[in-house]
Amino acid sequence: MYLDNGKISTRQVLRIGILENIPIGIILVPFITTKLAGPYHIFALLFGLILFSLYCLIIYGFSRSFPLGFIDTLHTSMGLFGRILEGVYSLRYIIKASLVALFFSLIVQQYMLRSFNLWVIIISFVLICGYGSARDIEKRGRLLEFLFWWMIVPLIFVVVFSITNIQWDVFSIPKMDISVITSGNLWAGSYGVLIVLSSVELMIMTIYRERKHQWKNSLNIFIWIVIAIILAYIYVVGILGEGWVRNGQGSALNVMQASSFANGTIERLDYPIFAFWIIGIFATASGFMFYAKEFAGSMLRLERAKSYKWVTFATTLLVLITMILYNVSWFREFVVAYILWADIAISILVPSILWIVQKSKQIAKQRTPKAAAKKIPAGNVIKLFLFMACTSVILTGCEGEDIVNDLVGGISQSNAIDRKTPSLEGRSYVIRLGISTDTEASESSYGFAFETADLSEYSGDAGGSLKTNSYSCKATSVDEAIELFFSENGTTPDMGHMETLLFDGDWHNYTELLKELSTMPNISKAISVTDSLGSEYTLRELIKTMYDTVSY
């Protein structure tokens, strides 16, 4: 009655644009730039953002060129070919949604639910994305408008509470020479940034819905994305260092640990922040599923209100099927090749073709001598130029197969740990952990000494000092030591509240263990580490130094 008019507000367009495009970028851009461009990551980011700007301009141009909307124009202008293209778009977005969901599920499993089977996480997430994508654009606009601050406020917490942990020397600009420019790594990094941020193409289906402030809206979205990406890059690389970031796509999440409330009100603020980041990923994945559904519905010429429920269901099912297919090597290779070589090209080529078809139809309609003599306006020439520029970048190639392989290959590599989450009373709370090298055994064996809290007579502060228990064992890794502890004591050592880590001798002897500790999200990276030489660090500093100085 008041708002059922098929339009969305300026604020909704802005928030859709931000939520659909930022969450993946803030996690992956630091990883991609450091992994591919090495010490030249800052240049990769810079060039990547320039490419992204060009891409945004093209997308904006297209969104202005189709005032009826890209889907409806494709639907009405190109007949059977249009229907095929609608199908192609639907499949593209299904693949992209499945990639986002897979990447997300792997991180959730690694970071939050290590004892869970990956498929449990995938299915729950995809089903909710399906539910979230089942609405029309107005409801989607309202949803993302509502969820906006749920994601942004926690991110502001990270920005505010961890600013003091940034080490600015990481950003010292390395010398550039011609070999760097021609090596391809720099360009691969830049192109990687563009791929990660290419979800901005969804705006072609959104911008036109708000007619009054299209340029202002687009500019705002662009500025938000660029600022968020630059901030994420500064915080992640500045806090963790290049070496740590390049060693895992989820390492950026450790930045969240750098922020915590004063006086331990919440010990690990990273978990709630991470939890709310889920909302952002939901926005991106459900965005792809939403448009996959829209294209499929349009291709099948279905009535929107009634049949779209079935299309949504089918889309959700197809996303799940696609994820099963990632277990098949040829499909994985196909997706890798597609994402690297074809996806961005399609996102530019199809609207270009549509634009040309539309223009020729318009010219044919007004076939008067004057109209026939009319040339394509200068603005459109610029669009074509930008299109060519972007395409040429794509054709320069990319060496990012490893990254995409890392992402889509994860589904077959991921395994839940055998040990299920123990109950509170089934845990031994580790206060201190001492680690020494085992000189008698092989080089890779260590001695572990656990000091755990004895809570049998615990009565809070009034009860005086806390009693402790000790346990020692020899193992090749922290994980093995935990297993040994469990098998001998019947309780699982909980390292989530560990206060100190002690190394016997120089920490350089424990680089493998430090690497393992860096991947254990339950261990706070803010704990203090002391070696027998008297040096004191926080675990985060030590891991950062280790990754920066030891080459892998």
């Binding site: 009655m1 008041y2 708002l3 059922d4 507000s9 300026t10 604020r11 909704q12 959730v108 939050m112 639910l113 869970f116 996480i121 729950s124 997430f125 909710i128 539910y131 979230g132 609405r135 409801k139 606009g141 309202r142 949803l143 408008e145 509502f146 969820l147 749920w150 331990g264 009100t265 919440i266 010990e267 690990r268 978990y271 709630p272 991470f274 939890a275 709310f276 889920i278 909302i279 939901f282 989450t421 109950s423 509170l424 009373e425 845990r427 709370y429 809290a453 809570l455 049998s456 615990y458 009565s459 809070g460 502060d461 806390l466 909980d494 989530g496 509240h497 206060e499 339950n522 706070s524």
Partner: protein, 515 residues
């Protein structure tokens, strides 16, 4: 056999919609025969034939009313006495006009030709008078319904402001609203709903402020269904909703006349139902359901603070048990170390897993609440105290639950009581179990997924076209000025405009005289 024939005769008088299809006849005998058939075995129906003397000869009349719903004294004073005694020698050409315009000593009298409407009126407490030779009847308003008085408002009590409350009397409810809006543009469109109950309802709105399409939509929805009976506005509310499976109410129901009056002057529409002390208002959204009348009567800062508290309480009432389970079972790293030690050592005597422990305690609380409602006043309070103190403490001592869980459940309960609308509060009590379930399955991840599902549902909900989450969503659309009366309740001087649901030309509600 005789009964069967009687039933058949009665049924032959009605059409398939349970409406009387016979018309009033000029012959009084025929009309009386219909009345006898209709009110056979109805001990409360009072019928009396009279013969009144006039110069042109005796005139037969027949009076009918329902004992208990009608003011007998009024019937005698305003109609029987004047007709049979005071005007007996007056000469009038038309006896009908004479009774209607001269003899009947009441203002509220009208003529009716439809038997269906006549019987409907009689069943509401009016008195019908049939006159021989006329195919119509006189309906005289003589209602005297068994009602309680205007009581103090217990269900929506406030620190400041009027304390009166609606009761089951339809006319009393409309009067309480009219008393607050003395404007002829306050329209009271009356009709009835329910084939059997014939429940009266009134749609009340200000004709120059409420959007005509909103009023029309409400009327259409009310007329859309044939239902046996409506006993309370709650039933009608469910009938009028677009989303019957949603747990969230899309109408605001209240027993406070000042709240209804305020809503009407904002451009919303109130529906008053007979036999229901709750008046429903549309459109309604999440924000409105967390507002109280006090907010506007207190200083703006105090009102704002109370609103912030209520929003936090709402969040706590849904999420606290789930969050507790998520962080104790899965992400215990969040909990400060000393608190974790305290929780862990307190749990050493508890035999059940945390999830079951919370579920037991929540179930116990809901059980106590239900028992407290069903028992008479003082006994109900006792159950609450006994349950809270004794059962809770015993459960801790017996190792069924830990102290921390008792605190969590108690805090959740207190938070849910801070929600001003009872219907709304019960939705959150229900959703608490949903969040508890998702958190128990997936920890913080499940907690967020649960919240996401609720958020998706809330985003798609609308109440007569107004987004349920407005003004959080829909900002800027059609000049929506919702933020001045959202979490922050702006000073009255600042709330210059009416919200989006008012007619565009009537958005201004505050201006200086002469402006």
């Amino acid at each position: 056999m005789a009964n069967n024939n009687q039933n058949t005769n009665v049924e032959s008088l009605f059409d398939s919609n349970n409406k009387l299809k016979v018309n009033i006849k000029p012959s009084l005998d025929e009309n009386v025969s219909v009345l006898n058939t209709l009110f056979d075995k109805c001990g409360d129906a009072v019928q009396k034939p009279f013969i009144i003397e006039r110069e042109q000869g005796p005139v037969r009349i027949h009076i009918i009313y329902i004992d208990g719903l009608t003011d007998n004294g009024m019937v005698e004073e305003t109609i029987i006495k004047p007709v049979s005694y005071e005007w007996r020698y007056e000469n009038e050409k038309d006896i009908w006009d004479s009774i209607l315009y001269r003899e009947a000593q009441t203002v509220d009298i009208k003529e009716e030709t439809s038997f269906d409407l006549v019987i409907g009126s009689v069943l509401k407490g009016d008195t019908a008078i049939f006159v021989d030779g006329y195919a119509k009847a006189l309906i005289m308003s003589t209602k005297k319904l068994p009602l309680r008085g205007i009581n103090t408002n217990d269900s929506e009590a406030g620190m400041r402001g009027p304390r009166d409350s609606f009761n089951e009397g339809f006319r009393q409810s409309t009067a309480l609203i009219r008393r607050r809006i003395r404007d002829s543009k306050l329209k009271v469109e009356q009709s009835f709903i329910g084939q059997r109950s014939r429940t009266d309802y009134a749609i009340m709105y200000l004709s120059d402020i409420a959007k005509p399409e909103l009023v029309e939509e409400i009327k259409n929805r009310l007329e859309k269904y044939d239902i046996d009976a409506i006993y309370d506005s709650g039933m009608a509310e469910h009938l009028l909703e677009e989303t019957p499976y949603s747990p969230f109410p899309v109408f605001q129901s209240t027993t406070r006349p000042d709240k209804v009056a305020a809503a009407i002057t904002e451009g919303r529409v109130a529906i008053v139902f007979d036999n229901s002390p709750e008046v429903i208002i549309a459109p309604a959204n999440f924000n409105m359901l967390l507002q109280t009348s006090d907010d506007y009567y207190n200083r703006w800062a105090v009102g704002t603070f109370a609103r912030i508290l209520r929003y936090i309480a709402t969040f706590i009432s849904v999420t606290l048990p789930g969050f507790y389970v998520a962080i104790t079972v899965y992400q215990s790293e969040i909990i400060p170390t000393k608190l974790l030690y305290a929780i862990s050592s307190a749990r050493s005597l508890v035999t059940f897993p945390i999830v079951l422990e919370v579920l037991i305690m929540e179930f116990l609380f809901e059980l106590l609440r239900e028992a407290g409602i069903r028992l008479p006043g003082p006994l109900g309070n006792t159950i609450g105290v006994v349950g809270g103190l004794i059962v809770g403490q015993s459960a801790v001592e017996a190792g069924i639950v830990s102290t921390m869980v008792v605190i969590v459940v108690a805090l959740t309960a207190i938070a849910s009581f801070a929600i001003p609308n009872e219907v709304f509060a019960s939705v959150f009590r229900l959703l608490k179990f949903f969040i508890l379930l998702t958190s128990a399955c997936f920890g913080l991840y499940g907690f967020i997924l649960g919240l996401l599902i609720i958020a998706i549902h809330l985003s798609e909900l609308t109440s007569f076209g107004v987004p349920y989450m407005a003004p959080t969503v829909g900002g800027g659309i059609n000049g929506m000025a919702g933020s001045q009366d959202f979490i922050v309740r702006s000073p009255i001087k600042v709330m210059v405009n009416r919200p989006i649901w008012a007619q565009k030309k009537s958005r201004r509600r505050l201006k200086q005289k002469g402006e």
